[in-house]
C-alpha cells in the first residue's frame, strides 16, 4: 500500500458531487427535459400490489419510479387499556424510513411530521364508527426514497386499508406538484424536490371529490395555486382508478 501512494485511494469516499451546492441553471429555464424524460404533467408509472405482508390484516406495496413503499395494516384490535373509552375507532399511523432509503444514511428521520400528515389524510376517509373501542394500526415503511414519498405512502396506505377490509368512504389518492421557476412539475423526483421553490400536496377521495389533506409550501399567487390544485386533482382521479383496478385484480385472482 505504501508503494502505491498517490494511486487509487484504498478507502472509498462518495464523490462530493452528490451534494450539489448550487441549483443547476437548467431548472430556471422555461424549457428543460426532466431527468427521467417525462413531460412536466406526466406522472411516473405506478406499480401497486396488495397482500405484501402475510402477517398483517392487510398490506400493500407501491412503486413509483424509484420510490418504493410498503404499508401494513393491523387490526382493528382492542385499544390499549390506558386509553379512554371511545365509541368511534382510533387510527394510529406511523411512517418510518429504512436507514438505506436515502443517499445519505439515516436521513429519512428528518421527516417526523409524516406520521401526523398520514393520519390526517386517512382519518376523513375511514368510517371510524364501524369499529368502536378498537384501534387500527397503519405502519408505513419507505424502502427507497425517490421523491414524492409522502403522497406515495398515503395512496399505498389507503390501498392497504382497503385490503384489510376496513370500511372507507372512498380510497384516498395523493399527488404532489413542485414549482420550479415558472414551471409546475407533477410527481417530482428527489432531485426536483431538492431545488423546488414550492410544493403543493393534495390527498383526496376521487369519487367524492373531497380533499382530505392539503399542504402548501413556498410562495404562490392565487392563479398559480388554482392551476396546481387542478393538476393534482386530475392526477388523483386517475391514480384512484389505477388503485381501484389493482384491488379488483386482487379479488378476481382470489376467486379463480
Amino acid at each position: 500500500m505504501a508503494g502505491k501512494s498517490g494511486a487509487t485511494p484504498t478507502t472509498y469516499s462518495p464523490s462530493p458531487t452528490t451534494q450539489n451546492k448550487k441549483r443547476p441553471p437548467i431548472f430556471n429555464d422555461v424549457d428543460w427535459v426532466r431527468s427521467d424524460a417525462r413531460g412536466f404533467q406526466q406522472c411516473r408509472p405506478a406499480f401497486l400490489r396488495t397482500g405484501a405482508v402475510n402477517a398483517a390484516s392487510g398490506s400493500a406495496y407501491a412503486e413509483f419510479g424509484n420510490t418504493k413503499v410498503i404499508v401494513s395494516v393491523f387490526g382493528p384490535r382492542e385499544s390499549k387499556k390506558a386509553m379512554m373509552y371511545s365509541d368511534v375507532g382510533r387510527l394510529n399511523c406511523n411512517v418510518s424510513y429504512t436507514t438505506f432509503a436515502t443517499p445519505v444514511r439515516g436521513q429519512g428521520s428528518d421527516n417526523k411530521e409524516f406520521s401526523s400528515i398520514l393520519h390526517k389524510a386517512l382519518e376523513g376517509a375511514i368510517i371510524l364508527d364501524s369499529f368502536p373501542k378498537t384501534t387500527v394500526d397503519v405502519f408505513a415503511l419507505v424502502l427507497e426514497s425517490g421523491g414524492s414519498d409522502l403522497p406515495v405512502v398515503i395512496s399505498c396506505a389507503s390501498l392497504a386499508l382497503a385490503d384489510a377490509g376496513i370500511m372507507m368512504y372512498d380510497l384516498v389518492a395523493s399527488v404532489s406538484v413542485s414549482c420550479l421557476g415558472k414551471n409546475l412539475v407533477i410527481d417530482p423526483i428527489s432531485e426536483e424536490e431538492r431545488y423546488q421553490d414550492g410544493s403543493v400536496m393534495i390527498s383526496c377521495m376521487p369519487s367524492r371529490n373531497e380533499v382530505t389533506q392539503l399542504t402548501v409550501t413556498g410562495e404562490w399567487s392565487t392563479p398559480k395555486i388554482h392551476e396546481a390544485m387542478e393538476l393534482c386533482l386530475d392526477a388523483c382521479s386517475k391514480l384512484g382508478k389505477i388503485m381501484r383496478s389493482c384491488l379488483k385484480e386482487a379479488t378476481s385472482a382470489l376467486q379463480e
Binding site: Q19, K21, R23, S86, D87, V88, K112, E113, S116, K120, E123, G124, A125, I127, L128, D129, A162, D163, G165, I166, M167, M168, Y169, D170, C179, E193, R194, Y195, Q196, D197, G198, S199, C204, M205, S207, R208, N209, E210, V211, T212, Q213, L214, T215, V216, T217, G218, E219, W220, S221, T222, I225, H226, M229, L233, R244, L247, A250, T251, L254
Partner: protein, 325 residues
C-alpha cells in the same frame, strides 16, 4: 376486501354526502362526540347554541364570523433573548422569543443561515399538556409554523431572509432559534403564535459582527461580536397566519376552543404583504370540496390584509411603549 358494492352501501347508510348542506350539523355532532367531550365538555344544548350562533353570524361572545378578538402585543418581555414578544388574543396567551447564535451553515446551503422553530405547550395552559400530552400539539404547531414561515426547500418565499443571516459563506452564519410558548390556550394558537413570532422578529436586534481580515483561507475565521451595535431585523416579508375554521357550512376566524371543538375542518393560510400565499395547512379529518378550499383561501386573503395592518400598528405601538419605559 372492499368492493364497489360495499362502498355504495356505505354511501346509502350515511346519507348522500357528508358535505351536503343541512346535513352538516347533525353529522358533525355525531362524528365528533369524543373530541367535544375531551377538552371542552359541552352539552348538546351548548353545542347547538354555538353552531346556531355561527350560522346566524352572531357568535356566543358577540363577534361576527370574520372578527378577531382584541389583540394586545407586548415586546421585549424576555431580556435574555435577542427579541421577544407576548401576544394576547382574548384568553389565548403566547410568548415568542428569538435567540441568535453563531453556527456553521449547512453544506447544502453555504450562503444561508439557519432558522429553527419550536413550540412548547406548557402544562400551565391546560392539564392535558402535562408530560407527553402536549407533544403532539407542539409538533403540529411547529411544523405548521415552519411551513408557513420558512418557505420552500430552496428558500424562496421564506418570510425570513436566510441569506441575510450569512456572515462568511460556508464558514459562519447566524442560527436563529425561534421558540414559542403557550401560556394559556383558548383556541387559535397558530395565528397567535404567528403574530407573536412576527412581533418578536421585529423586536430582534442582531449584533454587528466584524470578521478579521487576515483569516486563513481554510481555517475558521475569527469574528468579533459587537455589544453595542445591533442590526434591525427586516420583517417586511414575514407573513401573517390566518386560520379559518369551518363549523357547519360557515367559516369563522379566531375560533375559541369551544368553537374549535365543533369544527369539521380548518385551514391555516399564511399570506404576506403582497397578498401571496406562503404556506397552507389543513387540520381536522373531514374532507373538503376543492371549490370550498379555494373560497376559503380567498376569504383568508381578504382577512389577512386587515390583520396585517392591525398587527403593524400594534407592534409599532408596543415598540414605542417599550422605548419610553
Amino acid at each position: 376486501m372492499i368492493t364497489v358494492e360495499k362502498i355504495i352501501r356505505e354511501e346509502r347508510f350515511t346519507g348522500p354526502s357528508r358535505s351536503a348542506p343541512g346535513l352538516d350539523r347533525e353529522i358533525s355532532a355525531l362524528s365528533f362526540p369524543a373530541q367535544s367531550q375531551g377538552m371542552v365538555g359541552l352539552s348538546f344544548g351548548e353545542q347547538h347554541f354555538i353552531q346556531g350562533g355561527i350560522a346566524q353570524d352572531l357568535r356566543s361572545d358577540g363577534r361576527k364570523r370574520l372578527t378577531y378578538r382584541p389583540i394586545s402585543i407586548e415586546t421585549g418581555v424576555i431580556p435574555q433573548a435577542n427579541g421577544s414578544a407576548r401576544v394576547k388574543l382574548g384568553a389565548t396567551d403566547v410568548i415568542a422569543s428569538v435567540k441568535a447564535e453563531l453556527g456553521k451553515p449547512s453544506p447544502f446551503q453555504p450562503d444561508k443561515g439557519k432558522v429553527s422553530i419550536y413550540v412548547d405547550c406548557s402544562p400551565t395552559a391546560a392539564p392535558v399538556f402535562e408530560g407527553r400530552g402536549g407533544d403532539e400539539l407542539s409538533a403540529e404547531l411547529s411544523t405548521a409554523l415552519q411551513r408557513c414561515l420558512l418557505g420552500g426547500k430552496s428558500g424562496t418565499g421564506a418570510g425570513i431572509d436566510l441569506s441575510s443571516l450569512s456572515i462568511v459563506e460556508g464558514k459562519i452564519c447566524w442560527d436563529l432559534y425561534i421558540d414559542g410558548l403557550v401560556v394559556s390556550s383558548d383556541g387559535n394558537l397558530l395565528d397567535a403564535l404567528g403574530a407573536a413570532i412576527k412581533a418578536a422578529l421585529s423586536n430582534t436586534g442582531i449584533p454587528k459582527v466584524q470578521v478579521a481580515a487576515s483569516a486563513p483561507s481554510d481555517g475558521q475565521p475569527e469574528v468579533d461580536i459587537s455589544d453595542e451595535e445591533f442590526l434591525q431585523f427586516d420583517t417586511s416579508g414575514v407573513p401573517v397566519i390566518v386560520t379559518l375554521t369551518k363549523v357547519g357550512r360557515h367559516y369563522i376566524v379566531d375560533a375559541t376552543s369551544e368553537e374549535e371543538s365543533q369544527m369539521s375542518s380548518a385551514i391555516s393560510v399564511s399570506v404576506n404583504r403582497q397578498g401571496r400565499i406562503c404556506g397552507l395547512t389543513k387540520r381536522g379529518g373531514a374532507g373538503l370540496d376543492p371549490s370550498v378550499i379555494l373560497d376559503m383561501v380567498s376569504v383568508t386573503k381578504h382577512v389577512s390584509e386587515q390583520l396585517m395592518n392591525k398587527l403593524d400598528s400594534e407592534i409599532s405601538a408596543a415598540e414605542a411603549c417599550e422605548e419610553e419605559s
